[in-house]
């Protein structure tokens, strides 16, 4: 090798190194995600992905985080836990992301937790079940309120109405069964006695037998339906059809306009807990959450021309919790970001006010839910 070619080789290396260094200085912060954008849980993953894309763009337009742009790397897990594991592995090992915000369903989230803990990477789950953060896992956080909190919200509302003996009717889906179990667990704490515990298959077309059985029990003061999908609307219609007059409570699982459309007039008088996002317009102007949820609603609906959903709100909270933690930590160092997420206090998101702590990796309290009553085909706040 002569001197000249040696020099030019050196120069080439040097220039490559310079390019690489420059690229590193402006290298984007990588946010990884895996969501059920298709498949049975598409109604979760679709708004979540759209929200992440929307706000990554917004954050970048405003200058990014720590002077660096955010880069979203999102995979579609189709609601499949096995796929979710593969994608999380790829996010960690190949894409080398700085944090992960994702996991539309509880099944996917639980499946990837061992990988997350092993790789020691901050992870914010968008799934519902309390098992995700109980017991606390060092690297795992979540934004949606749990079904146990929904039960507690419903039971405390029942107590203020003097109701203590109720009938429970639940579907056989994952959401339904989990909520039923949580409600049965916390009922004694609120002095609620469950006198009937009926079930139906989630695709059933008629629930009058179960409701008739409850109607025969004169002691039942209210009925709670832990359900999801179309079945709660059928329950509501059947409930009115057989002339039951006690209060009917539904879960946050049906807190969408679709439920009112399906159940029609039968939904009048039904109470249910729901996220603030649904009642943004009805909230008083001095509500500290009003501005946040109205801003999100406006951003989402003006870009995608479809109704906003609470599921997208989980993704908004997850993304901003990570972005804020990185700003607070002043770096993307994984351990520092994790500590910063854990020390989040008084941060107002779409799901409520987050107060994280080493023993609470969700950080929400009952104020995350608003008790709603359906009147004339629309939501009203119960005070």
């Amino acid at each position: 090798m002569n001197l000249r070619s040696g020099l030019s080789t050196f120069a080439r290396f040097a220039s490559i190194a310079t390019i690489a260094f420059a690229a590193h200085a402006a290298a984007p912060i990588k946010i990884g995600s895996f969501l059920s954008v298709t498949g049975p849980a598409a109604f979760l993953g679709d708004p979540e992905q759209k929200t992440l894309e929307l706000y990554v763009d917004k954050i970048n337009a405003a200058g990014g985080v720590l002077g660096r742009k955010l880069e979203l790397i999102a995979y579609d897990s189709g609601g499949n836990a096995e796929k979710a594991r593969t994608f999380v592995k790829r996010l960690i090992e190949e894409d080398k992301v700085d944090a992960i915000v994702g996991g539309s369903t509880t099944g996917e989230t639980m499946a990837v937790i061992p990988l997350i803990e092993q790789a020691q990477i901050p992870f914010i789950s968008l799934a519902g079940a309390i098992d995700i953060v109980e017991p606390v896992k060092k690297w795992v956080f979540k934004t949606p309120a749990t079904d146990r909190m929904a039960c507690e919200k419903i039971f405390s509302d029942m107590r203020t109405r003097g109701i203590s003996k109720i009938g429970l009717i639940s579907g056989d889906g994952g959401f339904d069964k989990s909520m039923r179990a949580q409600c049965i667990k916390v009922a004694p704490k609120y002095g609620i006695e469950i006198l009937a515990d009926e079930a139906y298959a989630s695709k059933d077309t008629d629930m009058t037998p179960q409701l008739t059985k409850m109607r025969q029990n004169a002691q039942i003061q209210a009925v709670l339906n832990c359900g999801f999908g179309q079945a709660p609307a059928i329950v509501t219609k059947n409930f009115r059809q057989i002339g039951m007059t006690v209060p009917l409570y539904q879960s946050h699982g049906v807190a969408s306009k679709v439920y009112i459309q399906l159940a029609g007039g039968a939904a009048d008088g039904v109470r249910l807990p729901a996220a603030a996002l649904l009642v943004a317009e009805a909230m008083p102007a001095n509500d500290p959450q009003k501005k946040v949820v109205e801003g999100y609603k406006h951003d989402f609906e003006s870009r995608y021309h479809q109704d906003v959903s609470t599921f997208g709100g989980h993704a908004y909270d997850g993304l901003y919790l990570v972005a804020d933690a990185m700003k607070k930590a002043g770096s993307t160092n994984k351990a520092e970001v994790r500590n910063a997420i854990e020390s989040t206090r008084g941060w107002m998101g779409i799901d409520g006010e987050f107060n994280m702590s080493p023993t609470d990796h969700m950080g929400l309290d009952l104020s995350a839910f608003r008790m709603l009553e359906i009147k004339n085909g629309d939501w009203t706040l119960v005070h």
Partner: protein, 291 residues
């Protein structure tokens, strides 16, 4: 009779009539070809969803329903022409698997073409429940039961008093002999797919006000309708109705008197027991005749 029992019976009747309507569609195609058409549930879904979207454009219900039935019939005919007819002469199992593929395809297309939300149709004659001796039934249930009866009568007439109907029956008994006497087996298959698609669509429209409709309702309705058809005896019209009603009543009575969590277990358990004792179903032809 107590009001409670009466309510269970009315509920069973409502649900049973829904199953029966779907089961009838299975029977027609089975009669013509010995094929169990697993896309039958999808015909039900297309009927309901098409009506919903046509009503959304401002059409009145009868017109929307008519167009939806026509569209679904077309889907049935196209399915027969493009998929089933191409492999005629293959074994029945091949044809059945083709219908499974078609059902997955149709469901996926529906999810793309429409959306994945639930939709409700307005009830045909109001929602005010009708009280009968302390129990109640919604008017739409009477529509379902009534139309089921009319359809059974019409099918009976079609199969026993028209040339096309008799041709279908003849083909089901002996395909080769039917061909030899000049019956076009291809036409028979085409007619039976069209007819059962139309019937499925009609069922989908009638039950949408009660059960709602969505891109994936065909799965459950197809399964329950198939179970009803088997219970009543595949290929028998009155059997399909009897099977549907029996299944509906079994479900509601076991939910009411035993356990709502195990109602499907009880209903299907009894169904299995019946099939062990009567392999051809309640009103099915004896299998010896099939050889």
């Amino acid at each position: 009779m107590s009001a409670q029992l009466l309510q269970y019976l009315l509920s069973g009747l409502t649900v049973g009539a829904i199953y029966a309507l779907v089961a009838l569609g299975f029977s027609i195609i089975y009669n013509a070809s010995n094929v169990i058409n697993f896309a039958q549930g999808e015909f039900v879904m297309i009927g309901g969803m098409a009506t919903v979207s046509l009503i959304a454009t401002g059409l009145p219900l009868p017109l929307a329903a008519g167009l939806a039935i026509a569209a679904t019939t077309l889907v049935g005919l196209v399915l027969e022409k493009l998929a089933v007819e191409r492999v005629r002469g293959e074994s029945v199992v091949t044809l059945i698997i083709i219908t499974i593929g078609a059902s997955i395809l149709l469901r996926g297309l529906a999810g793309l073409l429409w959306d994945k939300n639930l939709h409700a149709l307005p009830a045909f004659s109001g929602e005010r429940p009708i009280a009968i001796g302390g129990a109640t039934i919604v008017p739409q249930s009477l529509w379902v039961v009534g139309v089921t009866l009319v359809v059974v009568a019409a099918l009976w007439w079609f199969f026993n008093h028209t040339l096309h109907g008799k041709a279908i029956l003849a083909t089901s008994h002996n395909r080769l002999a039917a061909q030899l006497v000049g019956i076009s087996v291809r036409r028979v298959l085409l007619i039976s797919f069209g007819l059962s698609a139309a019937l499925g669509a009609l069922a989908g429209i009638l039950i949408a006000p009660i059960t709602f409709t969505a891109w994936d309702v065909g799965v459950m309705l197809g399964l329950k309708g198939f179970a009803a058809a088997i219970l009543g005896g595949l290929g028998s019209g009155p059997g399909a109705v009897l099977g549907g009603l029996a299944l509906g009543l079994l479900e509601s009575l076991s939910a009411g008197y035993v356990s709502s969590a195990y109602k499907d277990v009880i209903a299907f358990g009894i169904m299995l027991a019946v099939l062990v004792l009567m392999p051809g179903g309640l009103l099915g032809r004896r299998s010896a005749e099939r050889v």
